[in-house]
């Protein structure tokens, strides 16, 4: 069990994080520079928060009111740095041995051997880190952390230092290692695909402020906030305007909603995924609205159309994705007038 509640004033924003993790792989998801790495550094004890409380299992790591601030050495928090932070003058075996906590040399070399086997580093024992590939370096760093027997694992963007064609394999290996680890793991990332595949739950950080933790499924399929929806990959947003008679207008696109489910009281905007927008030549219903095709971009697997709603406001542009092999995909061309239509149940209402 990990409980984090910290506040720290940073030069450009205030870090204000509050979450709890129970035996799970939890992602801290947010755009670059939103305070994700700073949060990890506070938990590890490298940076001291201004105030708050951090509890790991039954140990208080930090409590500003009781003046508790354990040094990193006593926190038992494993930290996998973005660039792995291997000691460049040590061999692979020496690097791993540096993480061993006991003093018994025989036990230490047994434990090092065990980790070398487990992380498939045989034959590299006497190499220095700069002779290893990125993936091997990551396995050494992970072995060095696991031999230390931490109670919590912090992973800071573990795949950014790697070539993309290596990532897939490494991600599966890391997933296996995390399963074996069996304690709480915090995974910092700005990559939603990684998070979706690896994590049980997600805490979104928006400009230093943490939002409520959610299951990964809930965040990606039913996001509650604008920041979460944006991070889940949604590209189309509109403000909501409530009209007389209980009707609702999606202001940016000039659509007045007909029927559909009741809209939550606290909803301020709506998000629609690029794949949820249907287009046709003719008006198909009350809610379909006229647009002009502004641009057409051909991606590897899909065609992207940029639509400008005729009655839209604030220069709103909708992004629509169509499967490449869909029949009409070839026929949509810039300059054409079309109708777009969004099913009510595809609209994500956001706080």
């Amino acid at each position: 069990m990990l409980e984090v509640r910290i506040v720290k004033q940073l030069p450009s924003f205030t870090l204000d994080v509050d979450f709890r993790a129970d035996d799970e792989i939890m992602a801290l998801l947010g755009s670059s520079g939103c305070g994700k790495s700073m949060t990890l550094k506070c938990i590890a004890g490298i940076v001291k928060p201004d105030r708050g409380r951090i509890v790991l299992n039954d140990r208080v790591l930090f409590d500003s009111e009781k003046n508790v601030n354990l040094p990193p050495q006593q926190r038992r928090v494993g930290y996998l740095f973005q660039q792995y932070a291997l000691f460049p003058h040590f061999t692979v075996a020496q690097n791993i041995a540096a993480g061993y906590r006991g003093r018994d040399k025989a036990a230490r070399s047994r434990a090092v051997q065990e980790k070398i086997q487990a992380m498939r580093l045989q034959g590299l024992e006497n190499d220095r880190p700069n002779h290893l590939s990125g993936g091997q370096q990551q396995r050494v760093a992970l072995a060095r952390i696991l031999i230390n027997e931490p109670e919590l694992l912090l992973l800071d963007e573990p795949f950014t230092a790697l070539d993309s064609y290596l990532k897939w394999q490494l991600e599966m290996e890391l997933a296996d290692a995390l399963k074996r680890f069996g304690h709480e793991t915090l995974f910092v990332s700005h990559n939603r695909d990684e998070v979706y595949r690896l994590c049980d739950s997600v805490c979104v950080l928006d400009q230093g402020k943490s939002q409520d933790k959610q299951s990964t499924q809930a965040l990606f399929h039913h996001p509650q906030t604008y920041a979460a929806c944006l991070l889940s990959g949604c590209k189309n947003f509109s403000a909501i305007r409530r009209l007389d008679g209980g009707r609702t207008e999606l202001a940016n696109w000039g659509i007045v909603m007909e029927g559909g489910p009741p809209i939550p009281e606290d909803a301020a905007s709506v998000g629609v995924r690029s794949r949820s927008i249907h287009i046709s030549r003719e008006k198909t219903g009350e809610q379909s609205f006229p647009c002009r095709i502004e641009r057409r971009l051909d991606d590897i697997s899909c065609t992207v159309l940029m639509l400008r709603p005729v009655n839209g406001r604030n220069g709103a542009v909708l992004r629509v994705e169509i499967d490449k092999d869909a029949e009409q995909a070839r026929d949509w061309l810039p300059g054409q007038s079309v109708y777009a239509w969004i099913a009510n149940d595809q609209m994500m209402f956001l706080q």
Binding site: G45, P71, G78, Y79, Q83, A85, F87, P88, A98
Partner: protein
């Protein structure tokens, strides 16, 4: 030929290099951590001897350590010996003059050090002193060695401050540099030339060492 100046120069340079090596590392390490304003002031004071004429340094040292000056008189009372005009008086001069070379090189090496190495060491439970001696110093060792070699070369060639605080006494305080000056002054041109060649040879070897260190460092850079 009397080899005393070579022997004296080498021991003065060697002893002052040891002193400068540790003092320079300590200064570079601790000054990096203090508030900016104080850091700027200390930085200027510690680097000043690099740009001051050695005679100015010699003058200040005599003002400080001369037998009738406050510190010099106090030390005379304690140790019963004068701080000037002995062979080891030159060490004061060489330490002050060569210190900035070590200090600045060490500071550059520490600033280039990847701090996440220290962070990861701490989260792994390694003590701060272990991290300093086993990680920070070894990782920075090329820069630190280069600083020490430069300081040694500078100490070996020191003339101005040395001649003021230790003077020239044959077989007592004579160093290579003061000997060259003395021989030239007394028109012993051939002998002066011998010492000049010896000095050039030593300096060339030192520079060769620095070049080799730099080459090694380049091979060492992390991918």
């Amino acid at each position: 030929m009397d080899w005393y100046p070579l022997y004296n120069s080498l021991r003065i340079a060697a002893i002052s290099t040891v002193v400068i090596f540790f003092a320079g590392i300590a200064a570079a390490y601790y000054i990096a951590k203090i508030p900016r304003l104080l850091k700027g002031v200390l930085d200027v004071i510690l680097t000043l001897p690099l740009v001051l004429p050695p005679t100015v340094v010699g003058y200040l040292l005599l003002r400080l350590l001369g037998p009738k000056r406050v510190v010099g008189a106090w030390l005379y009372q304690i140790f019963g010996t004068k701080m000037v005009m002995t062979w080891w008086s030159a060490i004061f001069a060489t330490v002050v003059v060569a210190f900035p070379l070590m200090y600045r090189t060490a500071r550059g090496a520490f600033e280039a050090f990847d701090e996440t190495l220290a962070y990861s060491g701490r989260t792994l439970g390694l003590s701060n002193s272990w991290i300093f001696w086993r990680i920070r110093l070894p990782v920075c060792r090329q820069g630190l060695t280069a600083g020490a070699v430069l300081a040694f070369a500078r100490a070996l060639g020191e003339y101005g401050a040395t001649s003021m605080i230790a003077s020239y006494t044959p077989r007592k305080t004579a160093t290579i540099s003061t000997t060259v000056y003395q021989l030239w002054r007394t028109n012993e041109d051939a002998k002066a030339m011998e010492w000049v060649l010896i000095n050039i040879a030593i300096s060339a070897v030192v520079l060769l060492c620095i070049n080799m260190l730099e080459k090694q460092e380049r091979q060492w850079v992390r991918q």
